[in-house]
Subunit: 388 residues, 2 copies
């Protein structure tokens, strides 16, 4: 069967094919950058209109008591099943970097006596920057280590790792690495930016201690939409975070001078939540109703697998495949080639939108809710043309 | 002249009267809570539609290079003239609490050797909570002090004060208090949440060292819209803040492992900016085009003064006036009475919307861009009815 025939058949039998109609995405565009900015669900524009004109315009300040104040926990509970968390353990707000800061300082306070923060050597840079800042404030020491060889020891307080490597697309085993951390007596903090909404995470099942993630990639919350923080119930009472603003207070409107943290996940909150962005995210999460992460993962592997087949056949040795060919990959395929930055510019000019990451990587992200096999084929065909 | 005649004449001759048409606010509502959540400028709903449907939906990831990435500084430059700052010194993003955290840690690093943080004793609580958290991380000591009697000494590192007391509505002299801090060799950090957009601040003229403020009160940015941080040019090179995420890096897309802060105000950034909220704020700021803060202040004093006259005549001794009667007041009037919480509930049920603050304060905020003298009169009339 030709690649064209395979693409047609795969799209025709795709159980998630109807989800694409929930997105406001031009048919002419091959959008393979949902791992950086997810496409807009159609419900978002309408919801924003409702929030601005009705909730803000008509109800004014009263809306704070009509759903706004508790939105960080309520939207968190909608993300929870996507990352394998029971309700009451995920809160939405602030950026991933700010949540990493909260989680890392809290981890250092939990791990008294130990002073080493082990950071995934291939981490997305902000994790390392924030870890360095936390180390400076808490007297900890940073040790970068490859996830294949962490070298944990009796001094390791916490391990900070990314489930999916943002550059290579390699996916790591959350259960196995969490177990390693626990065996060494350390806490495990996962950054789920490149996996939430694309891969099973199973935070509760693996006994993960802390996690953060963004919502603007595979969760389609919109540009810079608020991030999430996971603190399991068992650690909430001892979760002692440094961005302890009035929103994390047990009685914020008592306006008391002493800070008394909320008893639940709300203690992960800091300042007043960004309601427009938060409710845009809330609307965007509607696309997950009735979908399981297992289905999403199955399609993700099929899509990226088919793309690899197309690349092998149409592009061949003009690129090297960076992403693992076995199932230890996230929902992206990274290809390395010379002049990658210019190659990506030319792909984008032809409406095949992926992105470039230094030094020489072309990234193609596949969002299973709106990605099509025909897109994978056209991307490989266009890449072959561009490479000449 | 009766109060009714005065209200009519004042509204008829109000040079800012036409601004109200820029807001999407029901005529039937007396909205006096713009000091908590500003009313929506009409431009916001339309801009959100444009941002979601066009910028996000059609341009997708490309929008980051078409205005999104630099929005925190660009929108900051629109707020700058409203707080008396030259361009390049204000950045927008994160919450007020998060920006306070950045500013206070940076202040402690600038003030090496001194370890006392003096906090306005009547501060909005989050400032005290965040200062306490910073003290714990940096080894500093907190000393609450009334702004009338700061008792600064050779150990004071930084003074954190609110220009307007959120409860009483009293406004403080930014120049005089800043000079006191500087005379003691301390840094001055202002919280402008209750003054930005309502009172002159003149940050540059007074040589203020650091400032933060929210944008959802008198700046009408929307519920929980991103806050701003002011760092004057002279301090930017030494502004060393702890939420040093990838957005504050000098070359964020180089994805380097070492953090090298941006040379300008962008080093105040942390994670990816919340674009929907940020561009809603951008649209909301259009209402300031062609308005000076001096005009706003003049109307604010006239409005609150007229409201005090109405209260004196119609309500009399059933309430006590908490806000100063001279010009040392912000753009709100606070009245104390027994059962204030229930009184406010009844006012709101009659579409006179202010708010309650413990223990016994009714707050009436007057936003000069959309507040009317007729509103002030109706609020006092309704209050008189409610108090029976």
């Amino acid at each position: 069967m030709s690649l064209t025939e395979r693409a047609r058949e795969l799209d025709a039998t795709d159980p998630l094919a109807d989800r694409r109609t929930l997105f406001d995405l031009d048919d002419s565009v091959v959008y393979l950058d949902g791992n950086s900015l997810g496409a807009p669900p159609r419900s978002v524009a309408e919801r924003m209109e409702e929030v601005v004109r009705h909730q803000w315009g008509r109800r004014l300040i009263r809306s704070w008591g009509e759903g706004w104040w508790t939105a960080p926990e309520r939207v968190g509970d909608r993300i929870a099943p996507l990352v394998g968390a029971a309700p009451g353990q995920v809160v939405v707000g602030d950026s991933t970097s700010a949540n990493l800061f909260k989680a890392l300082v809290a981890a250092m306070r939990l791990a008294s006596g130990r002073d080493e923060i082990v950071v995934d050597a291939a981490t997305f840079p902000t994790d390392g920057y924030i870890a360095t800042s936390v180390a400076r404030l808490t007297g900890a020491v940073i040790r970068p280590a490859p996830l294949d060889s962490l070298g944990l020891n009796e001094n390791t307080a916490v391990v900070l790792a990314n489930q999916v490597d943002y550059r290579t697309g390699r996916a790591y085993d959350v259960g196995a690495i969490t177990a390693q951390a626990h065996d060494a007596g350390a806490l495990m903090l996962w950054d789920l930016c490149h996996s939430a909404g694309a891969l099973p995470v199973d935070l509760d099942a693996h006994g993960v201690d802390l996690a953060v993630g963004c919502t603007y990639k595979f969760l389609n919350g919109g540009p810079g939409s608020p991030a999430f923080l996971y603190v399991p119930t068992r650690l909430q009472a001892s979760f002692d975070q440094p961005l302890a603003g009035w929103n994390g207070h047990s009685e914020p409107f008592a306006m008391s001078q002493e800070f008394e943290p909320s008893s639940g996940i709300a203690r992960g909150r800091c300042g007043t939540p960004d309601i427009l962005s938060l409710l845009a995210l809330d609307a965007a999460l509607d696309v997950w109703d009735g979908v399981t992460i297992a289905e999403v993962r199955a399609k993700s592997l099929a899509l990226t697998g088919f793309f690899l087949d197309c690349v092998d056949e149409l592009v061949g040795s003009r690129v090297s495949v960076v992403t693992p060919r076995d199932s230890s990959r996230g929902s992206q395929v990274s290809l390395a080639c010379d002049g990658a930055r210019e190659v990506m510019d030319q792909l984008i000019a032809r409406e095949v939108i992926g992105d470039f990451r230094p030094p020489n990587v072309l990234r193609f992200g596949f969002a299973p809710l709106y990605g099509r096999y025909a897109d994978a084929l056209r991307a490989a065909q266009t890449l072959a043309q561009v490479l000449g």
